[in-house]
Subunit: 645 residues, 2 copies
C-alpha cells in the first residue's frame, strides 16, 4: 500500500510505501530536514509538524510533551500510516526558492526483470540437468540385455534420448539399484552445451524421484559469497544465504590473495577456505529449503578470474603478473565433490566462463542475466566495486575492460568507511544556508560510518552546495564549525560523537574524497577509453546496467553529479543487484543459456587499459567533479552554475 | 634354415627347422618311435640309426658305446644339423603298410597374420592417443589470451584440430608447464570413437616429447594375465610378460570368483588382486621396454565379462544368476589410475566391449583381431577353454554363444592333467601292434602330466588304434599291461614312474576321457546349435579361427577325429594365439578399430544355450567320439573303418 505525503512549505508531494519513515520520504522528495544521528530519535533535531493524517511512533525522550501535543513528531522514528501533510519547521528549512534546484527526488536504478515464466513461455525452461522416470521391462531369459543397455535403449525408444553416456562410478551402482527399484528407476541426465554433444546420465535412483530436482547458484565474491537453492520443477528460489568469503583473513583484495597463494601451501589454504564458505552456505540453504543433499543435481558458480582459479585450485600467479594471463576462460563441467563441495557424487558443477584476468565469470554471469547480449540498444554494463568491470555492446558485438577503482566504493580507504550494514550513512542532504546535515542510516540506527552509496551522495551534495570544489577540496570560508581542520586535514563533521555508536565524530575528509575521485575517475575513464577504442562517444550510450550490491542503492543523480556515471536519463539506468548470482540462477534454469554464454565469450573483445595509450589521459581528466571536460556533463554543469549563482 | 629328414623303412620325408629334435620330426612325419620318458634321453628307447647326415647330441648313458659307434642315436636328444636319412629300428617299428593310414603328418593351425605395415598402408595407423608438439607464441601485453585458449587456438589453426576439451586436473597444471617449457609444449590428445565426438587433451608436457608415445595391451584371463608394451611411433611390441591372475587363490573359475565377490569385501579383494597382477606386469614390461611410466598414453584391456566387472569393481552377481545379465557391454574410456592401475594421471584406459555375460570383451577382441568381421567367408570362431565361446558370421551378420566346457581343455578334471608347461605330454603316437607309446613333452623334459592339446591327441590316437571305443571306454582284451584297472578304474599307462618327474605312473583314465568328451561335446554342440538357429549347416562353414593359447598347439586332425572341430580341410583353420591380447594390441595402434568394435557389438546376436531348446539334444549326440551322427564326420568315419578293418 502507498500513501501520499505532502511537505510544506515546499509543497512537494511524494508517494511512499506503507510504514516507510517520514525522514526517508523527505529524502526521496528532496526535502531537507536537519537530522544528525541517522535515526532512532537520538538527536531530536528532525522535529516536523503533522498537519494532516497520522503517523505511528515519532516520539522519543528528545520530544517535549508540549511539542507532542501540538502535533510535532520526530521524522526519523515516524512511520507513515495514512496520507499526510507535513510541515518542516523554520529552523531546519531553507530558502524555498532554492529547494527545487537541488537534485530533487531520489532515483535509484530500476531492477532488471528476470522471470521464470518468460523462460517457460519461450520453451527455454529446460534445466541443464533433468530427471526422467523410467519403467523398464524386467530382465528375462528371453531378454537379458545388460542393465546399462536396457536403460539406454529405454531412453532411446520411449524418451527420444540419444547420444547417452555414463561414467564408471555410475555403472558400478546400476546392477543393484535397478533391482532395488524393481526395474523402475529415475535417470538424471546432464545436457550438453552443443546439441550434437553427449547427454551424460549421471545418476540412476530407484523408483520415481523426478519431482525432486534442485539446483544451487553461487556467487563467489572476493568479500562475500552468496548462495541460492532453486526448485527445478517450479523455477522458484527456495532459500538463500550469504557469508563473508573466509579467504578474507588472507588478504582483502584479489592481489593480496594471489600473493598469499604463491606462498608454500597458500593455494591449498585459499582453496579450502572458499570451499568451507560454500559448504557452510549449502548447509544452510538446503536445511532452509528442506532439500536433501543428493537431490541437488547441479551447482552453478561464478566469480572473478582469481576467485575461479582459487576455487578450482589453479595457480593464479600469472593473473597478477604482466601480461596478466588467466589459466583458462572456460572450464569443463565436473563433479562438484571433485573440488570438495559437499554435494553428492552425481552433482554437476558448472563454472561461468570469463574473458580475461580481470573480466571474469561474475561479469559474464551478470551480462547474461541482464540480457544485453540479446538486445539491439547500445548498453553500458558497469559492475562497480574495488575491481570495476565494464562492458559495452549489444547483440552483435561486445567489448569489455576492467579497472582497479580502489576500495572507496566498498568503504575502504575512507576514514569512517564501512560496508552497507546497520548504522552506515547511506543518504544525506545538506542545508545550503546552515550547512547542517540530514543523515539517513541503514536500518535507521545511530550512525557508525559511511557506506559506498552514502559516500557518493555526500560528495554530490557537498559539491552542489559548494562545500567542496571540483577537486574535492573544502571551502574553508563558510563559517560553519562542521568544516574544520584536524591534524592538518580538512573535514566536514557529519555526526558529532554524542549521536554516534562509536563515540567519535564521524567526518568526511579530503583524503576520503580524493579516494572517491580516483575510484570514480578510474571507472568513468575506463568506459570512455573503451568507447573511444571502438569509435563511439558517451552520448551514444542508450542504456546503463549497474551490477553489484552497490548498484541498487546508489542515487543515480548523485552518481552522475560526481561523474561516476555518464549523463543519461535516470530511466535508462537499471540495476541487476547481484548480477553474478542472477546469472547463476538463470543458468540453472535453462540450458539454452550455456550456448549463449559460449557465444558471448567468443564475441567479447577484451581491452587491457594498461596497454591502451589513451587511458591515462582520460583518467587524469576524470580526476575532477564531475570532470575536467564539463561538456560531457552539460546538465550537471548547468545545475551547479544555477545552485551557486 | 630347414632340413629334409627321410625316415626308413617308411620312406616318408619331412622338412623341419634347423635344431629341431629328431623325435619331433618323426612325430610330424607320423612315424612312430617308442619313446616313454618324454625326452632327455632317460628311457633310452628311442634309438634310431643315422644312415646319412649328422645330428648334434643324441647321446646319453642309455646308449651303449657300441651302438654309438654303429651310428645309433637317441631321437629325443638328437638335434638335426643337416639333411638326414634315419632308420627306425625294427623293435619300435610297425607294419609299414598300416603306417600311412594313421593321421599322417601333424597340422597345427596357421597363424592369422596381422601387421602394422598393413595398417600404415591403409592410412589407419592412427593410435587412439596421439602426441603433437606445439611451438606457441609467448604471451605478450598485446596477446594475453588465457593459457588454455592459446593451446586450443594453436591446435585449431596450425594442426586443424577441433572440438577439443580437457579436464580440470590438466588445466591446473598448464600455467606452470607452459612457462616451464617456454611456450614449447607437447599435447597428448585422445581421439573420440565417433568422428563428431570430442578430442580430449589429456596431457601437456614441456618441450618436445612427441616421439615417446607408448601403449600397453592387456589380456585379463581367468587364469593368466598377459601384457605387451607397444611403441606407437613404430607399432612394434617392445616387451611382453604374463603372470597368473592373482585372483586364482579365490576360485579357479569365474563362477567361484563371483561367489567370492558376493561375500563381504570379496569384490574389493578380487578387484585389488587383478590390479596387483596388472601392475606387476606393467612394472616388468616398462622396465624391459625402457619406457617411463608417464610415457604410456593408453592401456587397452580385454577380459571375459566377469573379469571386466571385477577389474572395474562392478558387482558380478547377476552374471551367474538367471537370466544372466551383465552390468554393461560397453564401458567409457577412463583414467587408468582411477581403478588403481599404476600409470600416470593422463593415461587413458580402454576396455573392450563384450556382448553378454558369457561372451565378453576377450572374445570381441579376438574377433576384431581375426578380421572376420571384414570378410565375406562364413567363419566359425572358437575360443577353446573352460568357458568356450563361439561366434559365427561374416561382414554382414554375426551370432555368438558360450558354453561351459569344463576344465578338461586346460588340464582340469584330468587325473594327470596340467597346463602346457615343461614336462607336459603334448604329443603322442601309439604302436598299433604293441600299443607302446611315443611321448613328446613340452621342452623335452621328463614327463610330468598331460596338457590339453596332448589330451586331444591321446584320445584321437587311442580311438584310431581301437584302444578306446567311441564312448571312450578301454578295450580290455588287447593283452598289453599298459591297459589296466586301478581301484576299479580302467586306464592306459603312458609313462612308468621310473621315467617320470613325479615318481608315479602317468596314466590316462576313463574318467579323464569322459571329461574330455563332455568338453568337446559342449563345444561342438554349441556350434551346431548356433548354426541351426540361423538355418545353416556345419558344411556351410568356410573357415575356422581358433583362439586361446590352446589353439596354436592342438593337432587339427586329432581335434577333428574326436569331434571337437567340424570336419574341414586343415588349411581352412587358422589360429590367433591370444586373440584377446592381439585385439588389444590392434586397438592401441588404430583408432579406426573402435568404430568397428561398436559396429560389431551392435550387429552381434547373442544366443543363450540354456534357453535354446535344441542344445541339449545336440549335446547328448556329441558325447561320442567323434559323434553319434557319423555323417557329420565322413572322412573320420572312413579312416577309422580302414584302420580297424
Amino acid at each position: 500500500m502507498t500513501y501520499s505525503v505532502k511537505f510544506l512549505p515546499h509543497n512537494i508531494s511524494v508517494k511512499v510505501d506503507d510504514k516507510e519513515t517520514l525522514i526517508r520520504a523527505a529524502m526521496e522528495a528532496g526535502v531537507h530536514i536537519n537530522a544528525s544521528c541517522g535515526g532512532g530519535g537520538v538527536c531530536g533535531k528532525c522535529r516536523v509538524l503533522i498537519e494532516q493524517g497520522t503517523v505511528e511512533g515519532g516520539i522519543s525522550e528528545q520530544l517535549s510533551n508540549d511539542d507532542q501535543e501540538k502535533g510535532y513528531r520526530l521524522a526519523c522514528v515516524s512511520n507513515i500510516a495514512s496520507d499526510l501533510v507535513v510541515r518542516i519547521p523554520i529552523e531546519s528549512q531553507i530558502d524555498t526558492s532554492r529547494l527545487n534546484e537541488q537534485t530533487g527526488s531520489r532515483h535509484t536504478a530500476k531492477a532488471t526483470y528476470s522471470d521464470v515464466n518468460e523462460l517457460r513461455q519461450d520453451g527455454l525452461f529446460i534445466p541443464p540437468v533433468e530427471k526422467i522416470y523410467l519403467e523398464l521391462d524386467p530382465a528375462t531369459t528371453g531378454d537379458n540385455q545388460a542393465d546399462v543397455t536396457r536403460i539406454i535403449n529405454h531412453l532411446r525408444i520411449h524418451h527420444n534420448e540419444h547420444r547417452l553416456t555414463m561414467n564408471l562410478d555410475l555403472i558400478r551402482k546400476i546392477p543393484d539399484i535397478i533391482r532395488q527399484g524393481d526395474f523402475k528407476v529415475t535417470a538424471t541426465i546432464v545436457r550438453p552445451v552443443r546439441k550434437d554433444g553427449k547427454n551424460e546420465i549421471v545418476n540412476i535412483e530407484p523408483s520415481d524421484t523426478s519431482t525432486r530436482n534442485f539446483a544451487i547458484a553461487v556467487d563467489i565474491g572476493t568479500t562475500t559469497v552468496f548462495g541460492q537453492a532453486l526448485d527445478l520443477q517450479t523455477g522458484e528460489v527456495l532459500s538463500q544465504h550469504g557469508e563473508f568469503n573466509s579467504q578474507i583473513s588472507y588478504g582483502e583484495d584479489v592481489i593480496s590473495r594471489i600473493i598469499f597463494a604463491e606462498k608454500d601451501g597458500g593455494l591449498e589454504i585459499l582453496h579450502q577456505k572458499v570451499i568451507e564458505t560454500i559448504n557452510k552456505i549449502i548447509e544452510k540453504i538446503l536445511k532452509q529449503g528442506k532439500i536433501g543433499r543428493h537431490e541437488v543435481t547441479t551447482i552453478t558458480l561464478a566469480g572473478n578470474s582469481t576467485m575461479a582459479q582459487l576455487l578450482l585450485k589453479i595457480n593464479p600467479s600469472y593473473i597478477r603478473r604482466d601480461p596478466y594471463v588467466p589459466a583458462s576462460i572456460m572450464y569443463p563441467p565436473f563433479r562438484a565433490n571433485e573440488i570438495g563441495i559437499a554435494l553428492a557424487d552425481h552433482t554437476i558443477a558448472l563454472i561461468y566462463p570469463g574473458v580475461s584476468s580481470y573480466v571474469g565469470g561474475d561479469v559474464i554471469a551478470g551480462i547474461m542475466a541482464s540480457g544485453m547480449y540479446r538486445e539491439s540498444e547500445l548498453t553500458l554494463y558497469m559492475d562497480i566495486g574495488t575491481n570495476a568491470e565494464i562492458a559495452i555492446g549489444h547483440k552483435d558485438w561486445m567489448v569489455c575492460t576492467a579497472a582497479s577503482a580502489g576500495p572507496a566504493f566498498e568503504g575502504g580507504g575512507v576514514k569512517f568507511g564501512m560496508r552497507a550494514t546497520k548504522g552506515a550513512i547511506e543518504d544525506f542532504s545538506i542545508n545550503p544556508e546552515t550547512y547542517e546535515p540530514m543523515i539517513i542510516t541503514v536500518e535507521n540506527k545511530k550512525a557508525k560510518g559511511i557506506c559506498g552509496s552514502g559516500l557518493i551522495t555526500l560528495a554530490a551534495k557537498l559539491l552542489e552546495i559548494g562545500v567542496i570544489d571540483s577537486r574535492g577540496k573544502f571551502n574553508q570560508t563558510l563559517g560553519t564549525p562542521r568544516i574544520r581542520q584536524t591534524d592538518g586535514i580538512w573535514e566536514y563533521v557529519l555526526v558529532y560523537k554524542e549521536d554516534t555508536q562509536i563515540e567519535r565524530d564521524i567526518t568526511i575528509t579530503e583524503p576520503d574524497l580524493d579516494n572517491l575521485i580516483r575510484a570514480k575517475g578510474a571507472m568513468y575513464s575506463a568506459a570512455l577509453t573503451l568507447l573511444e577504442e571502438i569509435g563511439l562517444k558517451i552520448k551514444d550510450i542508450e542504456r546503463i546496467i549497474l551490477a553489484g550490491g552497490f548498484g541498487s542503492y546508489v542515487d543515480l543523480q548523485s552518481a552522475i553529479t560526481i561523474g561516476l556515471l555518464p549523463e543519461i536519463e535516470p530511466e535508462k539506468v537499471t540495476y541487476l543487484g547481484n548480477g553474478s548470482l542472477l546469472g547463476c540462477k538463470i543458468n540453472s534454469l535453462t540450458n539454452a543459456l550455456r550456448q549463449d554464454v559460449a557465444k558471448v565469450v567468443n564475441m567479447m573483445t577484451n581491452f587491457e587499459l594498461a596497454s591502451t595509450a589513451s587511458y591515462m589521459d582520460h583518467y587524469m581528466g576524470a580526476l575532477f567533479l564531475p570532470h575536467t571536460e564539463l561538456n560531457y556533463f552539460p546538465k550537471v554543469k548547468a545545475r551547479l552554475e544555477k545552485l551557486r549563482k
